[in-house]
Symmetry: C2
Subunit: 505 residues, 2 copies
């Protein structure tokens, strides 16, 4: 057999629908779809999307809250072999427009609440807008699904935007193989029980949410989809039989708060805890309550999970992110080469779940991938048993309410204001959000107008959650001779300035 034929596999939704036609595939609100239903709805969505591509063939974007149409759309793009680009729906018109262009999106699926932003963002672009409701209509009998083409593992399947040190998010390209191997590795690591049910309450534009859809269809596991995270709704789904859940620390904390002393059901067997470093107190609290928490180190560029600490290890390794998934290799790079056990260095990963690179002119960064190793930019070390400990996240990312906020992106926007000479952003701890951005700028304009102008400027160009809580004006920002922003010094300066301000009040 030729190698290329070998790297194609039967369409995974075809397989699930044939093997488990009557099994629940998706539930949302009061509605339910079996795998046979999902197959039918997906086939109908594929027809709509293929037609929408008639004028311009490009990638297919989605700008929508979590809802069934997103699931149909994602699987439909697999059927028609077009990459899907789930966009963060909290973004501004500018941000969306930039990504539409960057990803060469020619069809954009939008929900009602995002219709205006989508319309405005796509002005002058060759983008066909498809209301997501068009994908959620009962499929006509004549659109009964046939056999889908095989899935080529090397083919690009999705683009997910992630951090950029350059200030713009970078579109990480994922192949069908990345998604498939990730789902398989996850099943091998977590186990794969026939009565498993995934709860998807994370946004589907995050790799942590999107990956659930593929684990579901590849493993024939039902998904309970929720429009947005709500601790009570998430707990209800768990009481209702969800066995696997994926959350970020803020979500888990709010679930703990909501549940109080009442017990969690024994059917819940794994709570993947990712998104940002797992707070040790949170992990310990879960261990104490018998909640099967599984701290996870994940990356968009690795199609979600890289390491996961299995629940049966949390009692003795609670500050670790666990063992590498079965198909992923990790090494800790020190200046002198590969670091010995116990020594901190940059985490590098390799394996079939690792993205083949980024979109567009950020190709230079795929030098990360020399020799197959992806340099994560994160720092960590291994203990003697091979468990990973992540000590610092890349580029001082600010994680605010579970969302990644990239200082570099806010800095870029600030610098675009004509009166801003320089700008720097750090995260400061925040009780409600975990962390919030605070900015410092060097200002050349009228000092009295700085606050107002900067706020207006940010509101125009940044999603609400990215707008800094405070913007301080400084005479100069601390920079190294080579021009690198010294964030630690800036953090001190901002700290002192905030204290002074507080004192004055």
């Amino acid at each position: 057999m030729t190698a290329s034929a070998r790297r194609q596999i039967p369409n995974w939704l075809d397989v699930a629908a044939r093997s488990h036609p009557e099994k629940l595939a998706l539930s949302f609100g009061g509605q339910q779809w079996t795998f046979a239903d999902l197959h039918g709805w997906t086939a109908a969505a594929a027809v709509v999307l293929a037609n929408a591509q008639a004028k311009n063939v490009g990638r297919i974007g989605i700008l929508s809250a979590n809802r069934p149409g997103v699931v149909f759309a994602v699987h439909a793009t697999t059927c028609i072999s077009v990459p899907v680009v789930p966009l963060n729906w909290r973004q501004t018109e500018d941000e969306v427009a930039w990504q539409l262009r960057d990803a060469g999106i020619t069809v954009l699926i939008v929900d009602e609440d995002r219709a205006a932003v989508a319309e405005a963002a796509s002005t002058k672009l060759p983008v066909a807008i498809v209301p997501i409701t068009e994908l959620e209509r009962l499929p006509a009998p004549e659109s009964a699904p046939g056999k889908s083409p095989r899935i080529a593992l090397e083919l690009e399947a999705a683009v997910i935007y992630t951090s950029g040190t350059s200030g713009r998010p970078k579109g990480a390209r994922m192949t069908n193989g990345n998604l498939w191997f990730s789902a398989i590795a996850s099943a091998l690591h977590l186990g794969h029980n026939h009565d498993d049910v995934w709860l998807a309450a994370m946004p589907l534009f995050h790799v942590g949410g999107l990956a659930i859809l593929f684990r579901s269809v590849i493993g024939a596991v039902p998904v309970i989809l929720q429009e947005r995270f709500d601790p009570e709704a998430a707990l209800a789904a768990i009481d209702d039989g969800a066995t696997l859940v994926s959350v970020v620390p803020a979500m888990l904390q709010s679930m703990l708060d909501a549940r109080g002393d009442s017990p969690w059901p024994p059917t819940l067997r794994c709570v993947l805890l990712g998104g940002s470093a797992a707070p040790p107190l949170l992990v310990k609290g879960c261990v104490r309550c018998g909640i099967p928490v599984a701290p996870t180190y994940g990356l968009t560029e690795a199609t979600s999970q890289v390491t996961t600490l299995l629940p049966d290890q949390t009692h003795r390794k609670w500050s670790s992110s666990g063992l590498p998934l079965p198909l992923t290799e990790i090494r800790i790079a020190a200046e002198t080469g590969v670091a010995p056990l116990g020594e901190i260095g940059e985490i590098e990963i390799r394996g079939p779940t690792v993205s083949s690179g980024y979109l567009g002119d950020r190709l230079a960064e795929s030098s990360d991938l020399a020799n197959g190793w992806f340099r994560t930019g994160d720092a960590g070390y291994f203990d003697d048993d091979g468990y990973l400990y992540v000590v610092d996240r890349r580029d001082d990312i600010i994680i605010s309410g579970g969302e990644n906020v990239y200082p570099a992106e806010i800095e870029r926007v600030l610098r675009e204001h004509p009166s801003v000479v320089d700008a720097g952003v750090i995260g400061v701890p925040d009780k409600s959000w975990g962390s919030r951005p605070v900015a410092a700028v060097v200002w050349s304009g009228d000092l009295d107008r700085a606050d107002l102008e900067l706020l207006q400027h940010c509101q125009e160009h940044l999603a609400r959650y990215k707008i800094p809580d405070r913007i301080l004006v400084l005479d100069e920002l601390p920079r190294s001779p080579s021009g690198k922003l010294l964030r630690r010094t800036l953090r001190q300066m901002i700290g002192e300035s905030l204290e002074r301000t507080t004192d004055e009040i």
Copy 2:
């Protein structure tokens, strides 16, 4: 990342030993090995085998009954990237000698009972003999395993000899990828529970036995290994917690006989029934007793399972071999192309578990693999739900004037006649056509009208070339206790009957 880097994965035994060091990996007789132990013993075996290769690098053969050293040897060959060739230990010196030459074996691992045959077979060949006991000694502390090289999926991992219509067995070449994808597909299809335990009582030189070793290590599932099949020992292992078992019909029948009316434990969740067509009475008997039987169509050239009927479907599809495994495509080839549902034709398969071809001068047969499709030579059809029915194994098919004639099809037509109680068809050699069908029936009607009525019936329902040349009436057809038609006995009976008729003339 380069494509070749992408097709390498961490050594699966390294992963299992790191993730589940204390979990049982192997039990044999009274001895037990954890995954950490198995890792250590395998590393030690790898050193022995690498040293034995010093003079001549070639494939590594095993001529031994099931025992722990076979397991260590198989995993050790993965570590040193040398293909393993498990040989049927029932073979004669001549047969072994032929395979040693055919597979270019330079190291042969042998148990005591096979030492003389191995010695004699390897005379004049550059083969180093390694007693299997050398692999079963407690590894020295200094041979503690390091990290094994990654496993290249495209690399040849094993050769398994299979039957050849040409007279000599053919060595089917299996890559690491074939073995890995087969284990994954099996886990996806059967489920993958953390408390699973495989019973391996099949010979490890059969693909059905060997595949268990890879499912075990890739999924971190313990194996209970037994030296030879014994119904009482197999039942004891099941009572002891084996959840997954692989057997051929005769084995299962003897287990049913041995167990009698006593119940089977509920922990047993799947009895893979392969090797030859599952006798319907045996399957029905299991269904009646609540035994989770899973009739399976498997092939050496597909690294074992091709289709498996899951236990929850046996009550309504008991004569089917089930659905294709998730990574395997199947089509039914008819003269006119791909056969529609319900029509019998040759079973062709494609996918990442399919062997890349045979050893040596039988390469011409890899023309089977044109377009990625492997022609099994077996006949079958799909029902409306996509379940496969295997109607004839390749050796039973009658090739008449170049046309495939399927005994099962003729038998079905014959049985549809109201006076036919039972029917069996075999091929008899024919000078003009190569082979021609001859039938035997049990007839409940007027004996004088049998010939005429059967001929008319066949003419109405069968193409001319499929109509049997002779239809004999017998008192009874030879069937096994489980209901399987004994074609060899039928062949003798028909032969005698034809001779008698000829004599009478």
